[in-house]
Assembly symmetry: C2
Homo-oligomer: 203 residues x 2
Amino acid sequence: MLLCDIGNTSYHFLNENSNYKENVETFNPQTIKGIVYFISVNAEVKKKLDSLENWIDLAAFLDKSSYYETMGIDRIFAVEALQNAVVVDAGSAITVDVVKDGVFMGGFIYPGLKAMSETYSNISPALDYEFNFELDNKELPKNSQDAISYGFLMTFHREVLSYKMPIVLTGGDASKFKKIFHNAKIDDELIFSGMKKILKNIK
Amino acid sequence: MLLCDIGNTSYHFLNENSNYKENVETFNPQTIKGIVYFISVNAEVKKKLDSLENWIDLAAFLDKSSYYETMGIDRIFAVEALQNAVVVDAGSAITVDVVKDGVFMGGFIYPGLKAMSETYSNISPALDYEFNFELDNKELPKNSQDAISYGFLMTFHREVLSYKMPIVLTGGDASKFKKIFHNAKIDDELIFSGMKKILKNIK
């Protein structure tokens, strides 16, 4: 069985043994002859796949009534994988979604690490620092690097902890955010777990 | 007596009757013949004023030992004006500074409204929404506009409220932030109050 989670830049595959990525620009989906169960936030790729019989869009088998129309399908499948958790998907944007007893409670979107770094340096060269993930959140900063790091990370940290639920980190920057969410669990295959669950329901 | 707070884009003056602004690019400080007490975050303008005898830099009369070297002089003078408060200066960046019993406790820097709006729309056209300042912060969002508004505003809101101190809003976007900080006081002349206090000490 082959699963594929398609983003804006890559096809992320999972087979029985491993997960691997292919570039959206260069990969030709017709090279795969077997069945592929996929989800895609990438509208262009999705359109291309609609004409391939062996690529099956799992989004069609989902009960979307608990979610909202413009919510990314990757967020939905991550939520589907869990019963009680805060999902923090740290990519180009950071999505935070709360699921209680298997029901989606809502979520919010925060700018990702790279975007936020550019934001500060664009406001002023005086704010062009790397973020300090080793920040002590007990005291308010008294230097510029920590002042912007606190602005980006500690406001976010306080918000996410306020839900008092287990935190699951996924996405490209998950390991960086683990430095501020010490008790969080990293799950790189969270979306695939959601896909497997939906697949089990329809089989 | 004429006071002037100089930023990156304008000279902000206060005389006995009113406050008004002049553009940094077009205003010639030599046109003023009387004494002007000023502060400036604008290094270029400051350099120009150093050669004018009637322009007196109040930064020189400040005890800077409680502050840090790269802290903007406008933030310092805003803090000097208060005894117990959180100062939220909402400009191109939003600076948040805490002062307890007249002592600066530290602060952080968050991106301003315009910068943050651009950040979201640069990440994806799907995140290109106006911020909703009427957001209900009791529930997690279930639509895209509120999801980004919550990410920008409610994380920040929770952080600032956590200090449990009176909130003073200043800066160009103060009235917008008043919509989420209902009990905050807006003070457009906060930095001038700090300047007056320092001036009283040296006279």
